[in-house]
């Protein structure tokens, strides 16, 4: 159950990361697209220079989002999973040995070394 939930969350999160990266690249490309002056009108140039700034802010915000997302992903990986150790289970406890040792322990307690 937990692995199912984990994988679903993980997949959506990874998809989100992919789309964020895509957006960042797109915005970066946009900046260069509008960076040229050519024979544009004054108004368009003014708007474009503001677009450059807003795109830059957007890129920064998306990068910050990425950090949050990866943090969430790590949290899920660390807290939402259960590790199953192999080999440890097969090890049987030697009950007889424990029994013997424990009885020895009680004997040690009872045994008085000092005679008054």
């Amino acid at each position: 159950m937990s692995t199912l939930v984990f994988s679903r969350y993980s997949i959506t999160n990874e998809e989100k990361i992919d789309s964020t990266i895509e957006q960042i690249l797109q915005k970066f490309q946009d900046i260069f697209d509008v960076a040229n002056v050519e024979d544009k009108s004054k108004e368009l140039l003014a708007v474009e220079s503001l677009t450059i700034e807003s795109d830059a802010f957007m890129i920064i915000r998306l990068c910050e989002d990425m950090l949050t997302m990866t943090r969430g992903l790590k949290e899920v990986w660390c807290l939402g999973t259960m590790r199953v150790e192999e080999g440890d289970v097969s090890e049987t406890i030697d009950v007889a040995k424990v029994y013997e040792k424990f009885n020895q322990l009680i004997d040690t307690i009872n045994q008085k070394d000092i005679e008054v």
Binding site: D39, S49, I52, E53, C78, A96, V98, Y99, T108, Q111
Partner: protein, 568 residues
């Protein structure tokens, strides 16, 4: 028309009120009319009056010209201004609506609806929308010249923007880089903790209610019912991203006082108790794993167990106060057979190496002779608490019924009782052995006596079968040692006395089960065949057994063989 009448009225009133004016009012008035007193002389005034009187009949006009600006009173001025303002407002409104109409008409060619909504009804009726168009006219004659100027402006603007975003990117990347480094440290440490097989969970920091990751270091999930569940927060240091271990108890964060349990054994020597052994604190937290955080977790885990253990010990000790057990603040003292066993909860002080290493412990042979026993007692107590945890856990895993719930709430670990029980049992066994030896000594002339001792006879069946269901059976069951004393008469009759030395369920009360059987011959006795039960009783005191046994054997010796056989 109205203007004229009002002016006339004001002039008339001025003429009538001239004589009433005060000097202060009069002088500025004269100054205004004649400009200056410099040009006024008596003669000129006389002339003027004469001239005035003669021309007064002719016309009033010249006077009227002088007086006109002053004759207008404030009310009239206000009225006049008001009318003017209204006119100007009207024309402004007119012009505005005209320009609005113009703009709307211009706009209607591009956005029809928007233009229509602001057009005046008159315009919409007479002019079709979209019928006005405009072209931009350049004030530059040379289009190339204009373009190059705009291009320069554009270069400037864009250069500025790009410079600005470069700065933004630089700052943001520095900030993000710092954060990434912090995150890296944080998660590396966390992975370290996770690799140590710790249980991590999401929680909130009670300090500022921010999100945090907690670690379960205690035994609450492993069967412990102690009030301290052993939760802690891995608090992130906002400046470096490093994590620190902050235990939480009762919803509050903070450091705890670490206490560990020390066992001391004092032995009575010449009416004085001397220290003959004590347990060693040999827990080393700084193991091969050098991570400080894991160290902290291990330490907290160790001390929460010790705390839990002492809590259960005191609870158990309360029920055993009648059996020479004392509880003094953080110390439990068990007095048994010339010995004091002290179980003390000691505050852990990392700097006090002398205390921790027990430097003064092994000063001489006497003071260290019981060290092994003290260690064994400590290990025994720890083990028993672990067993209790395991038992609790098994209860939790069962289907919850009223019985299991009751058991969960009313289970208490067996720690002190078996400890004390075994020590007492050993004493009882040795006392009984000496009693029996005395009997053997006393009757060896008349009888052939044979003593067999089976220690822990209650466990023998298990040991023979090699079926160890519970390796800690010895501590759970009340110990039982069986003494078999066979008395053989010269005529071959055998009296077998079986004494079970055991205790009640709480381990501390002595119970002696005596069972005496008579056989006709030694072979019958070995096969437990044809035996006649002589006596079967339970005693709670060693002296009673002693007396009873004495009487039984005496009776056996003195019995006539014929009567005995008839009895048999």
């Amino acid at each position: 028309m109205s203007k004229y009448t009002s002016r006339y009225q004001s002039f008339h009133s001025q003429l009538t009120s001239r004589d009433k004016l005060s000097v202060a009012e009069l002088i500025p008035r004269i100054l205004q009319e004649r400009n200056s007193f410099l040009y006024i002389s008596e003669e000129s005034l006389e002339n003027e009056i004469e001239h005035k009187n003669s021309s007064e009949a002719e016309s009033q006009e010249p006077d009227n010209v002088f007086a006109q600006p002053d004759e207008i009173d404030s009310y009239e001025l206000f009225q006049k201004n008001k009318v003017e303002l209204a006119q100007q407002l009207n024309s402004a409104l007119n012009e505005t609506s005209l320009s609005l109409d113009f703009v709307s008409l211009l706009l209607s060619s591009v956005k029809v609806n928007l233009g229509k909504s602001t057009m005046s009804p008159h315009l919409t009726q007479n002019v079709p929308p979209g019928s006005l168009n405009a072209d931009r006219l350049s004030k530059y004659d040379d289009p190339n010249d204009m373009q190059s100027k705009v291009a320069n402006l554009g270069n400037g603007w864009k250069g500025e923007s790009i410079e600005k975003i470069t700065g933004l990117f630089r700052n943001a990347s520095m900030k993000l880089n710092e954060q990434v480094i912090k995150e890296k440290t944080y998660w590396e440490l966390l992975i370290n903790v996770l690799d140590h097989d710790e249980v991590l969970y999401k929680t909130r920091d009670p300090l500022d209610n921010s999100r945090a990751i907690g670690v379960k270091y205690g035994y609450s999930a492993s069967g412990s019912s102690y009030r301290d569940e052993g939760n802690a927060i891995l608090r992130k240091d906002p400046s470096s991203g490093a994590i620190s271990f902050v235990p939480i108890s009762r919803g509050r964060a903070g450091t705890k006082i670490c206490k560990y349990i020390k066992v001391r054994i004092l032995t009575k020597v010449d009416d004085d108790y001397l220290l003959t052994g004590q347990s060693l604190f040999d827990k080393k937290f700084a193991g091969k794993n050098t991570s400080a955080i894991i160290n902290d977790i291990e330490k907290a885990r160790y001390f929460v167990f010790q705390e839990d253990l002492f809590y259960h010990l005191t609870r158990e000790a309360k029920g055993l106060i009648n059996y020479n057990i004392l509880i003094i603040s953080n110390k439990i003292i068990i007095e048994v057979d010339n010995e004091l066993i002290e179980i003390e909860s000691v505050v852990f002080d990392e700097d006090d190496e002398e205390e921790l290493n027990n430097l003064y412990q092994n000063t001489n042979q006497l003071s260290s002779s019981n060290n092994r026993r003290a260690e064994a007692i400590l290990i025994f107590m720890n083990l028993m608490l672990c067993c209790f945890y395991k038992y609790n856990l098994s209860l939790k895993q069962k289907v919850p019924t009223a019985v299991t719930k009751w058991k969960q709430q009313n289970s208490h670990p067996l720690i002190l009782r078996p400890l004390l029980g075994h020590i007492r049992h050993e004493l009882n066994v040795s006392s009984l052995r000496s009693v029996l030896k005395n009997h053997i000594g006393a009757f060896k002339q008349d009888l052939e006596l044979e003593l067999e001792v089976i220690q822990y006879s209650n466990l023998q069946a298990q040991e023979l079968d090699k079926s160890f269901e519970n390796p800690f059976q010895k501590a759970i069951e009340a110990p039982c040692t069986t003494f078999k004393l066979r008395c053989k008469r010269r005529d071959g009759r055998v009296l077998e006395t079986v004494i079970d030395v055991t205790s009640t369920e709480i381990f501390v009360n002595l119970v002696l089960n005596l069972n005496v059987t008579k056989y006709d011959s030694g072979s019958d006795c070995k096969q437990h065949d044809n035996g006649a039960n002589v006596l079967q009783n339970t005693f709670y005191d060693l002296n009673e057994v002693d007396e009873c046994l004495n009487w039984t054997i005496m009776n056996f010796i003195n019995q006539d063989s014929t009567i005995t056989s008839a009895d048999g």
